[in-house]
Structure formats: structure tokens, C-alpha cells
């Protein structure tokens, strides 16, 4: 069905308030059930054997000793997960990543798994499995992987998107290009051109809850899966296809999710747990260790980006050109492509070209991480924009305002923009008190902009009126940040009843139709749209029932303030019927009352943010501390402003960690050296200041309430904002993220050396 989802400009009673979340009490009392908290009768413990080698051919696997160990109920290898993907390359890559077939492609790649009566037995059994590897040369670094002579991961990988088709295989799996105009002509008009290469290291989403699931397959071919996931319908689809099951026979129940940020959009251990359960004919619980999470679940890309931007003395950008190399692990992704699409999206560019190269390396399969690929591209672009501002003597905010994309601008990735919000965030930044606050010694201030697409997708909700008139709302998008509260607010708004009369639950895959994942900032955007439509459908039934109760034509009934009201001269004196009264009469007026909606939520609208940050650098050690941070972002309409702030703050904190300390460190042996929270350093509480937020509300014209997604954009600007702050403090340009102390110290040295050279030559 096509619903009218245009923004109506209505005023709100519930939406925009800040009630308590329904999942709060369970989460503060320890009752909330996460992936590892589910237990089934007769459950076994599953465990996965992982490759210690970054690249090897599997000659043979001998599992006989493990199978013979007392307490072992199943041992599986790739042979137990046969290839049913039927030429679907994307699905085959998922399968091969879950359980290596002919080759292992990274340290941590799964090669076999066991199910045993307890963890100790499972661990023993893993040690008894003998894998005969033929070790192959490996490459983990993005630039080394594209250099001539690099070990090639796949002999059949010829760069897609290049005409004519290359004759030699390479690690560049795909090339994509975006842009318009004539960049050479654009650069010819520039007074100043800056060209630089930037690098960013690989980071992990770093959710605190490791992947965990309980799988149970019956001999009749039906199955159940309890799992922490961002998309239980997608998990059902992938697992059923990989195991050759009928999709409807696999019921997936999402548990509470202990963070995902993109990392739980992909199946890792779930198909393995199901295959173990099928073979053992018992439920199997599989929980990854933290080490496994880092080694074998998807991090973001490491990147290397060449960038060139030209500007006139008066501050007009004349051209931009970027080549972006993003690692995607051993399997092709669209990560460089997303980087290429987002890099110049904030600006009005007459001449722009971006080229994305997907680079295969012996690292775990890259997965989405909050506004995937955008932060690295923004680091490169926003750093150069800032530097250009300095070179032409213009305020960096003014330079951005001068060149900001607006309605009618052709975006760097292709289409012409409708109404967009970068201008207002920049204006708010310029006027923000943070911008003019004094700085202390060794401190610097930086700012940067960020862009993310946001999207919608397939969504459905069920809204059921209980016999007492309270409302149960069932949604199919996972609640990662407070969506249950936000969606209850939306249902309460539409029905005209108090928030606490609505209870939202996330349904399992058997209770609702298919829903896309909670990704792309779509959870609240799309499920609120479906909730509004469900509520409207329920209201039309409620009006019919009230008409029946009054015995008047339904046209004479309106819905207002949570009640059916009769209108017109003849019936206007009838006392309104409350939701509870109509619900109570339901058995006599036609049975249960509900509203449903299924839709493809479109028109999410692009999202922009501007961040301001102050850092303090210890010039002798390079240690950098963020001392003040402000996030300004458009929310369309903030349904629950406190939870919107939470998204802004959380994304900024992740970006700060990425900017300063987080990185995958590989040894020369191709093994990950810091697969734990001690040496993969996500920010701790004492590392951060309070993170101030300013929510702008520029209604999204394509949503009835004007809502936009808010989850992802906040991670995009921090890398560049911090780089610019360091630069402004010391006059050095940081080109390598994370800007760890040794890198900052090295940059300070270089700047000093350059300065003394200047003095000597002067």
C-alpha cells in the first residue's frame, strides 16, 4: 500500500517529551536478557577453532580424535555447511567467512567447530582437531596490498568497474567513480590547491556484548535461534539459506542487544551454531570471547586516501578530486564506494571526482560501523578544507558556509539535493558560545562537518488494543538506543492517549512480516512511520466500533484526544467514548481491535552535523586530551530528545576514540596483536569531557512528524575536528589516524624542523 507520509506540520503532545524508557527497570536490575543469558534444556556449549595464520590453504582437517572425546556431541567443518548459495556471490562470501572452505584468509578465520557438554570439554576437543595448512604469503596493509608484487588473495579477482577487464588478478576487487564536471578545468581556476594523502587505521565497533546465540534445530527441519542482532529477519534469511531450511521454519527471537553499531548486522557464528545443533540434535549455545570478537567479527576499513582540493582567493572551491582505498577484508565490499559517495557531500562542487577502490587484505571481513566509510573520507576532506582556509586567510566556518551544499546543489555523488540542513548546522556552530570561548595554553580548537545518507526500508508494525484499552505495539526493528520509548511516544501521540498506556515490544520473526535491520539510522524513522499508519488504521476501526455502539453513521464519528466523539447537530451531545470503553465492548462489536501496517519507508533524507572540539596537547609527550566538545545536528523532529542527545554523544565518543587511540595492530606475521580491551583502547570515562549537544529540528518533508534518522552522522566529523584542533594548536597537519602520541610528537618535530629551516634561510 502507498501511505501518505508527507510532513503535516502538526503540533505534538507526546512526541518531544522525555518519559522513562520501558526497558529501563530490567536493565538496571539485571533482569534484561542478552544473547548469552538464554539457556535451553539439554543445551550444549559450542566453540569454534580459528586459524592462527593470516593466509593458508587447508590441505586436510582431521576431527576424529575430537569426535572420540567423551562429552563431544558434534564436530563440524565446511563439509557440514555445504555450499547452497547457487552462484550468489554475496551469500557465498558470508558462508566462506563463517566457515573456511579451501583457504583461510585471516588470523581468526573459522575452520571447524565443536558442540560438547561443557566449555572445558569443548576447549579440549578443539585442541584435538588437526588442521594441515599450507601457509601462503599474506598482506594486511592497504597500500602494500595494491602495490605491484603483493600476494594476491584470490586468483580469480579481476578489478570490476574497469574497462577493458584487467588481464591480471589483483587485490583491488572493484573500482567505482562518482562526480561531475571537469576537475582539470576546475583546478585551473584555483588560486590555491592542496594535495595530500591521508591514512586511517582499522577500528572495531567495540560493542561491550560479544556475539552470542542459542540455536536449536529439530529433526523435522524446523529451528529456533535466540540471538543478539541488529536484524533478526536478515539473520533468519541468511541462516535459512545457508542451512537449506525453509525461511518460515526458522524462528529467530532477538534478545536485548548489548551494542552493535553495525557489527551485529552480519551473521558470524549463528550459522555455525545452527549446524552444530543440527548435527548434535540438541540446542547449542555459542558465545564469542572478546578475542574472537576482535579477530573474527567485522571491523571497519583501514584506508589510504589521496585528496586534492582547489580554492579561489575569495573562498570558492573550484574542484575536488579523491582516490579512496578502503580495505574490505578478504571479500569484496562497497566500503570505498561509500567513502567515494560521501566524501564531498557537504559541499557545492562544480567539478568533482571521487574514485573508490575496494582492497582485499588478510584481515577479517569488513562490516558496517556507524555511517560506514564516511568518517575516514570526512577526515581527509575536512582537514584539507581547514588547511585551505588557513592558506587564503579565511575563517574555516565561513569557508564552509560559503561552499555548503543547499537545495538545488548537485551532490558530489550524483543527485540534486532537496532541502538539506548543513547550512543551519554551520550557522549554529558559528553562533555557538563554544566557538568564541578562550583557549588555554597548548590548546587548540577545531571544527568539521559530516554527512550521512540515512535510509528507510521494509518495515511493519502491529498495534493491538487490549481489552482494557491499553495498547501493545509490536515492532520488527531492533531497539538499540531507546526506540521502544520513542515508538510508544509516537503511538500515544497518534492515538491521543498517555505514553504509559502504550507498551512497545520487539516481535520475533514469527509475529511480524519481514523487517529490514536497524541500520542506516532507520529504526525510529521507519518504524515510527509504520506505527503512525498502524495507529491510523486502528483509529478507523475504533471509529467504526464507536459508531456501532452509538448506532450512528461512522461519518459522524471523529477521533480526538484519545476518544471517539460524535459530531453534528443530531449526535453532538453524546458523551465521548474512551478507548477503554470501546475496547471493553469489542467482543460485541466485531472482536479484537488492531491496526497493522506494512510499508517501505522511503525519503529518510540526508543528514548533516557540525562538531566543535578543543584539545590540549602535551608538547613533550604528544599526549592529547579532548577538553571540550560540542555536537550540532539536525534531527528533523526529536521524538525523545534525551535519547537523541544520547546518540549524538555516543557517536562523538566513538569518533574521539577512533581519532586518538583505537587501531588494529598487526604484526609482520599477519596476526592481530591487540585483540582485547586493554590494548584496543576505546575511551574510558576519564578520557572524555561532557559532550554538549544542540539539536536542530528542520522537519523532514517525507515523514508525517518530520522525523529523520539520528544514529550515525555523529561519528563522521570527530576525526577531522580533532585533527583540525591539533593543527590549530601547533600548526601541524595530522594525516594519520589515530593521532596517537608518537604520531603527534613526530608531527611536532617536523613542524619545528621546518620552522628552524625557515629561520636559517631567512
Amino acid at each position: 500500500m502507498t501511505a501518505d507520509t508527507k510532513f503535516t506540520g502538526q503540533t505534538f503532545k507526546s512526541v518531544g517529551t522525555r518519559p522513562l524508557r520501558p526497558d529501563g527497570i530490567d536493565k538496571v536490575t539485571g533482569r534484561a536478557r542478552y544473547g548469552a543469558d538464554i539457556d535451553l534444556p539439554g543445551q550444549l556449549v559450542g566453540s569454534i577453532l580459528r586459524s592462527p595464520h593470516p593466509h593458508a590453504a587447508i590441505r586436510a582437517i582431521n576431527t576424529s580424535k575430537a569426535e572420540a572425546l567423551q562429552g563431544v556431541k558434534a564436530v563440524i567443518t565446511a563439509a557440514d555447511l555445504p555450499d547452497l548459495t547457487n552462484g550468489n556471490k554475496e551469500l557465498f562470501d558470508i558462508l566462506d567467512n563463517c566457515m573456511a572452505r579451501t583457504h583461510v584468509y585471516y588470523d581468526g578465520h573459522a575452520v571447524a567447530a565443536v558442540a560438547a557438554v561443557d566449555a572445558v570439554t569443548a576447549r579440549k576437543a578443539l585442541k584435538l582437531i588437526k588442521v594441515d595448512y599450507e601457509i601462503l604469503p599474506h598482506v594486511t596493509d592497504v597500500d602494500e596490498a595494491v602495490a605491484p608484487g603483493a600476494p594476491v588473495l584470490h586468483k580469480k579477482c579481476f578489478t570490476q568497474g574497469v574497462e577493458p577487464k584487467p588481464k591480471k588478478p589483483s587485490n583491488i576487487a572493484r573500482r567505482s567513480e562518482f562526480g561531475h564536471g571537469d576537475v582539470d578545468a576546475g583546478f585551473a581556476k584555483a588560486d590555491v590547491i592542496i594535495e595530500r594523502t591521508f591514512r586511517t587505521e582499522q577500528t572495531h565497533q567495540g560493542y561491550i556484548e560479544p556475539h552470542a546465540c542459542v540455536a536449536s534445530i529439530s529433526p523435522d527441519g524446523s529451528g529456533e535461534l535466540w540471538v543478539c542482532t541488529q536484524g533478526h529477519f536478515v539473520f533468519r534469511q541468511h541462516c535459512a539459506e545457508l542451512l537449506g531450511m525453509d525461511v518460515s521454519k526458522l524462528r529467530v527471537t532477538p534478545t536485548e542487544i548489548g551494542g552493535g553499531f553495525g557489527g551485529k548486522t552480519h551473521v558470524w557464528a549463528e550459522p555455525v551454531a545452527l549446524a552444530l545443533s543440527r548435527k548434535a540434535n540438541r540446542p547449542v549455545k555459542l558465545v564469542m570471547s572478546r578475542d574472537e570478537v576482535f579477530r573474527a567479527s567485522g571491523p571497519t576499513s583501514a584506508t589510504s586516501i589521496d585528496i586534492r582540493i582547489g580554492v579561489t582567493k575569495k573562498g570558492r572551491i573550484t574542484a575536488g578530486d579523491a582516490t579512496l582505498r578502503y580495505t574490505s577484508g578478504p571479500y569484496v565490499g562497497m566500503w570505498a564506494e561509500l567513502g567515494a559517495m560521501t566524501s564531498f557531500a557537504c559541499y557545492d562542487m562544480k567539478h568533482v571526482r571521487t574514485v573508490g577502490l575496494e582492497v582485499l587484505v588478510n584481515r577479517p571481513k569488513t562490516t558496517a560501523y556507524r555511517a560506514p566509510s564516511a568518517p575516514m573520507a570526512a577526515f581527509a576532506v575536512e582537514s584539507v578544507i581547514d588547511e585551505l582556509a588557513g592558506r587564503i586567510g579565511m575563517d574555516p566556518v565561513d569557508l564552509r558556509i560559503r561552499n555548503a551544499a543547499k537545495k538545488g546543489t548537485r551532490s558530489s555523488y550524483g543527485p540534486v539535493y532537496g532541502p538539506i540542513g548543513i547550512g543551519p548546522t554551520l550557522k549554529a556552530a558559528k553562533e555557538h558560545p563554544h566557538m568564541s570561548a578562550p583557549l588555554g595554553e597548548n590548546q587548540g580548537r577545531g571544527m568539521a562537518c559530516g554527512f550521512w545518507f540515512n535510509f528507510g526500508g521494509q518495515t511493519c508494525t502491529d498495534l493491538n488494543i487490549a481489552p482494557d484499552g491499553t495498547v501493545s505495539l509490536t515492532v520488527g526493528t531492533i531497539d538499540v538506543g531507546g526506540a521502544r520509548a520513542s515508538l510508544a511516544l509516537v503511538a500515544a501521540e497518534e492515538l491521543g492517549i498517555p505514553y504509559d498506556q502504550v507498551r512497545t515490544v520487539v516481535g520475533d520473526t514469527s509475529t511480524l512480516g519481514y523487517n529490514d535491520m536497524t541500520d542506516g539510522s532507520r529504526g525510529t524513522f521507519s518504524s515510527s512511520m509504520a506505527t503512525i499508519m498502524s495507529a491510523r488504521n486502528a483509529i478507523s476501526i475504533l471509529k467504526e466500533r464507536a459508531a456501532k455502539m452509538w448506532d450512528i453513521p461512522v461519518e459522524k464519528v471523529i477521533w480526538e484526544d484519545g476518544c471517539a466523539k460524535a459530531v453534528g447537530k443530531k449526535h453532538g451531545n453524546l458523551a465521548p467514548l474512551s478507548l477503554a470503553e470501546i475496547a471493553e465492548a469489542a467482543p460485541n462489536t466485531g472482536g479484537p481491535i488492531a491496526g497493522h501496517n506494512e510499508l517501505v519507508a522511503d525519503g529518510a533524507g540526508v543528514s548533516f552535523a557540525t562538531h566543535i572540539c578543543d584539545v590540549e596537547v602535551d608538547p613533550e609527550t604528544g599526549r592529547t586530551q579532548v577538553v571540550r566538545y560540542t555536537v550540532i545536528q539536525d534531527a528533523g523532529k526529536a521524538v525523545h530528545p534525551t535519547y537523541v542527545e544520547g546518540q549524538y554523544q555516543g557517536g562523538a565518543a566513538q569518533g574521539i576514540g577512533w581519532a586518538l587511540n583505537e587501531e588494529y595492530v598487526y604484526g609482520d606475521d599477519g596476526r592481530l596483536q591487540n585483540a582485547g580491551f586493554l590494548d584496543y583502547r576505546i575511551p574510558v570515562c576519564s578520557d572524555l569531557p561532557m559532550i554538549d549537544t544542540q539539536i536542530l529540528e528542520i522537519p523532514n518533508p517525507n515523514h508525517p512528524y518530520g522525523i529523520r534518522g539520528v544514529g550515525e552522522t555523529s561519528i563522521v566529523p570527530p576525526l577531522a575536528a580533532i585533527g583540525n584542533a591539533v593543527s590549530n594548536a601547533f600548526g601541524v597537519r595530522m594525516t594519520h589516524v589515530p593521532m596517537s602520541a608518537p604520531r603527534i610528537l613526530a608531527a611536532l618535530d617536523e613542524a619545528q624542523a621546518a620552522a628552524s629551516e625557515d629561520v636559517e634561510t631567512a
Binding site: L20, R21, D23, G24, I25, D26, K27, V28, T29, G30, R31, A32, R33, Y34, A36, D37, V120, Q205, G206, Y207, I208, E209, P210, E256, I257, G258, G259, G260, F261, V287, S289, R290, V480, G481, G482, T642, Y643, E645, G646, Q649, G650, A652, A653, Q654, G676, F677, L678, I682, P683, V684, C685, S686, D687, L688, M690, I691
Partner: protein, 157 residues
């Protein structure tokens, strides 16, 4: 070898069977059924498994189950007084100091230990006291505010 451990958990006498090399975290979750104690890393780096052992805040993943023989253990499950939430619990909900909630039990125990020793902590003291607890959702801002609000309310009570 399986051993029997007698201890006091959240005010109740509890006995549980335990392997010699089993951690308190695993024993609490798998033997006693206290699943509010969370495992985020198993190496003492994230604090999700924080409990209070004889009045001292510890990571239960860094304690052997057998060490708690005759001792007292407090977990998140023992924080509220029946239906009445501890002030920290209600302030965490009010201030949106939790999103996904996986780190919340550990933060609550760490904050409880902090406020017992220091009823009027500065922002910096709160930040350092909670540095052993990782949160990836909130950026800590609202957690710090919830602890500040709790401290203020408990001082007035």
C-alpha cells in the same frame, strides 16, 4: 574436581558447586543463575562483571569462585530493596545513563562502591572511579550526570 562453596550473596546464604579454575563470574552466571553479572571481556578490562566482594569492588572475572567461601558478594540483583529501586538505579533510568544496558550492572556496582567511600565526588573523581567500566553507547556524559544526581540526592536523604 568439583568443589562446594558456601557463601553469602546479596544477603542470602548460597552454596554452589564449582571447579577449582572456574571464575566467580562463571559461577555466578552459570551455577547461581545471577545473569545480571555480564561478561564483556573476561580479562578485567571492561568492568561489566563488577561485583562487590566483602565491601570491595572487583571484577568477578578476575576472582576464582572458590575464593568467596565464607565471604559476602553483592551483585546488581541485590541492589534494589524489593520493588523499591536504589537511587542509582532510578537516576540511571531518569538521566538516560544507559542505552543498550549491557554495561549498566557493572556501572551501578562501581558507582555504589564510589559513593560509599566518597559521598560528594567531583566530576573528575567520578570519571576516574568509573574508568574501569567501559560504555560504548553513551559517551559517559549521562552516566556521570546520573551519579552526580544520585550523590546529591543521597546527601540530602
Amino acid at each position: 574436581m568439583t568443589n562446594l562453596v558456601n557463601t553469602n550473596i546479596n544477603g542470602d546464604a548460597v552454596g554452589f558447586a564449582c571447579e577449582a579454575d572456574e571464575t566467580l563470574l562463571d559461577a555466578l552466571r552459570n551455577r547461581v543463575g545471577l545473569k545480571g553479572v555480564k561478561e564483556g571481556c573476561g580479562t578485567g578490562d571492561c568492568g561489566a562483571c563488577s561485583v562487590i566482594l566483602d565491601g570491595t569492588l572487583v571484577c568477578s572475572c578476575l576472582v576464582l569462585g572458590m575464593e568467596v567461601e565464607g565471604r559476602t558478594v553483592e551483585t546488581v540483583e541485590g541492589l534494589s530493596n524489593g520493588a523499591e529501586l536504589h537511587t542509582l538505579q532510578s537516576k540511571f533510568i531518569e538521566h538516560a545513563a544507559l542505552q543498550c544496558g549491557i554495561c549498566t550492572p557493572g556501572f551501578l556496582m562501581a558507582a555504589k562502591a564510589l559513593l560509599k567511600n566518597n559521598p560528594d565526588p567531583s566530576e573528575e573523581e567520578i570519571r576516574y572511579a568509573l574508568a574501569g567500566n567501559l560504555c560504548r553507547c553513551t559517551g559517559y556524559d549521562k552516566i556521570v550526570r546520573a551519579v552526580q544526581a544520585t550523590a546529591a540526592e543521597l546527601r540530602e536523604a
